[in-house]
Amino acid sequence: MATAQLPSGKLQRWAKSPFFFNTVAHLLRIEREQARNLGELLEGLRACSDGSIFQHTFRTLQEHHFIREGFSNDFAHWAFEACNEIGLAERLASLDIREFTSIPTLRERIIAIIENYLKANSRARERAAMEPFYFCASDTIIIPTTVVARNLQEFADGLEKVSLNSIHYHFIDARLRLKLNSNDFSVWLDKEMDLGPLADRLNRIDIYTSTLQDVRRQIIRDIQFAM
């Protein structure tokens, strides 16, 4: 993937502060909670660690980043494949993790969706799933890279160099750290490069209909287009 040279002009300005690319590595822990029906899933969701909620929503999206359609989160997948509760699966799959800036809020939303479904479908609570749901959690270690960007050209070059783990960390996981409906790239472009419209455009890239590699390409294209 070659990056076009950016022309001289206002977009070649230097950032007030550079962008340091980090990346991230995750180790999967097997947790105690298991669910053999939707009632037990609810109990597990109330008791499990924040790391579990993160694993089965944000992280699983990263693990399946190559799928353009049909994969949203592990809870939706299990409701569909193991419980055959299509209506519930559809509601859970519609969760967009970009709308959540905290794990507790995301947890509450998932619980609310399942509770509402079970109010209308009380028999589903005890109906045995074909396979249990096993709660896992992520141990996350942040890794600095040597890639640094001080202007747009270096930023585009950096985006090409770093791994997809890094793209996910800055573009998707970031909103939990920032507590904003945004991402590290957009924040830097807006605050450090005074490129608000470009920052907004990046933040609108659809992560559910694109692979992470597509996301990387789209960000680079948007930077080039901004020229």
Binding site: R29, Y134, D139
Partner: protein, 453 residues
């Protein structure tokens, strides 16, 4: 004009004759496949940089960074066999990479008499849910050999990894050592014999951490449990890229027609892999679509039950000239690689399965996979996204028909499957998991929560 017609007719007749001869030759070859009788010399293990074209420089840099934090730390792996079996294969791949990352890694193998290995084989089957009478003698033999090995071995390393139940008793040395101890369980403990598990569990609880291949294989323990998927090596003989000429040679050796669809199952001749069910599914599908079926595997030469299952498969195949059954020797990695690569569809219709890494091998070759929804297979095959899961002969037959008549959908499954393996089931992913776990246990890195900066 008449001459031209005659020439054309003659040419056509010759072509048909050649085609008939070719088909005859293929059929003849199927009766007497050319199977290599001597093992090839194994290639040297790959270096980390050899993986750059596969996973990218950035991922290799990340591994080096993680390893840097472990400089000066040492590691020991202990298992019960140096050759044969999945664990030895994994260690043969892993240890050179760890040493290249400057984490000195030793591999030691426990020793024992026939009585010890008879007991551990019994334990193995019992831990998989089989019937077993745990006698006092069996317990004593297990503990005696573990104690003998413990006296013989030194544990001066920072990390000691014990693989599977056979050497689990070495944990008795932990109290005299400074290292962290990890138990890596490669087997399915979801339904263990209570007496055998009751005997082993107090040992397992003394470790600092346990690793399982699937959450469904794990038990409730008092120690942290981690999930390491089994992995394949993209550069091994079984998975590396092969020249087209070699693929043609293998097809020629085995009488496979590359111009027609090829449906393949690679597995031991074992009832749990359901080779007879695969043939039945092929026969149902064959009513509607043209294809050849290749069943290739080993285990029929050194295992009496394997020979029986091979015979059952041959009987089920009958005289169908498009069913090619190959009983291959253990050194057939390249041939298996080639068979997977020339296949239009790969099947793994297991009835019971461990993790089922042949699925990952096929996905790595971008093949659409039809697989039984058992063991670790659903982790690899996400239904209709990275392959299709089946529960019956009829379902398998339907999916063969569907995938052969919808090649674009099949290709999409193959592409997704390849990415799934690249992300989760490659040896490099496992190196990363080991490095992370060592750091967490040794306290050289502290995991952060999802909302921490």
């Amino acid at each position: 004009m008449k001459d031209q017609i005659q020439e054309k007719a003659a040419a056509s007749a010759t072509k048909e004759a050649h085609a008939a001869t070719g088909t005859e030759a293929l059929r003849e070859r199927r009766k007497h496949p050319r199977i290599s009788e001597t093992p090839p010399v194994p290639p040297p293990p790959p270096k980390l940089d050899d993986y750059v074209p596969i996973i990218g420089q950035a991922y290799i840099d990340e591994l080096r960074y993680l390893a840097q934090r472990l400089r000066g730390k040492s590691l020991k792996m202990v298992n019960s066999t140096s050759v044969g079996g999945g664990v030895a294969e994994i260690l043969n791949q892993l240890i050179p990479l760890m040493n290249e990352l400057e984490i000195p890694t030793k591999w030691e193998v426990i020793t024992g008499g026939n009585d010890f290995f008879e007991v551990t084989k019994g334990f193995h089957n019992a831990l998989h849910g089989g019937e077993y009478n745990l006698s006092k003698d069996a317990k004593e033999i297990f503990l005696l050999y573990n104690e003998q090995n413990r006296q013989r071995m030194e544990f001066t390393e920072d990390i000691v990894v014990i693989h599977d139940p056979q050497p689990a008793g070495l944990i008795a040395s932990k109290q005299n050592t400074r290292g962290k101890w990890i138990w890596r369980c490669h087997i399915d403990l979801s339904n263990p014999h209570p007496d055998v598990w009751g005997f082993l569990r107090p040992m397992v609880d003394q470790y600092d951490a346990a690793i399982f291949s699937s959450p469904s294989f794990a038990r409730q323990l008092s120690i942290p449990q981690y999930l390491f998927y089994p992995c394949i090596d993209a550069l091994s003989e079984k998975n590396k890229e092969l020249d087209e000429s070699y693929l043609n040679k293998v097809c020629d050796d085995f009488g496979i027609d590359r111009k027609r669809p090829i449906v393949t199952q690679i597995s031991r001749f074992d009832r749990l892999k359901d080779p007879v069910g695969v043939i039945q599914a092929y026969k149902l599908a064959k009513k509607y679509v043209d294809c050849q079926l290749v069943l290739a595997g080993g285990g029929a030469s050194d295992d009496p039950e394997g020979a029986v299952v091979l015979k059952e498969a041959q009987d089920e195949a009958g005289s169908d000239p498009d069913i090619i059954i190959l009983n291959l020797p253990p050194w057939s990695a390249l041939e298996i690689n080639a068979l997977q690569r020339v296949s239009t569809i790969v099947i793994q219709k297991s009835i019971k399965e461990g993790f089922g890494l042949t699925v990952a091998e096929a996905l790595w070759k971008k093949k659409p996979v039809i697989a039984g929804a058992v063991g670790g297979i659903p982790t690899q095959v996400i239904h209709k996204l990275t392959g299709v899961l089946v529960h019956s002969v009829e379902g398998t037959a339907y999916q063969i028909r569907y995938l052969l008549t919808h090649p674009e959908f099949a290709a999409g499954l193959g592409r997704n499957g390849y990415e799934h393996v690249k992300e989760n089931f490659l040896i490099t992913s496992n190196v990363r998991r080991w490095l992370l776990l060592f750091q967490i246990l040794l306290g050289t890195a502290h995991p952060s929560g999802p909302e921490q900066t």
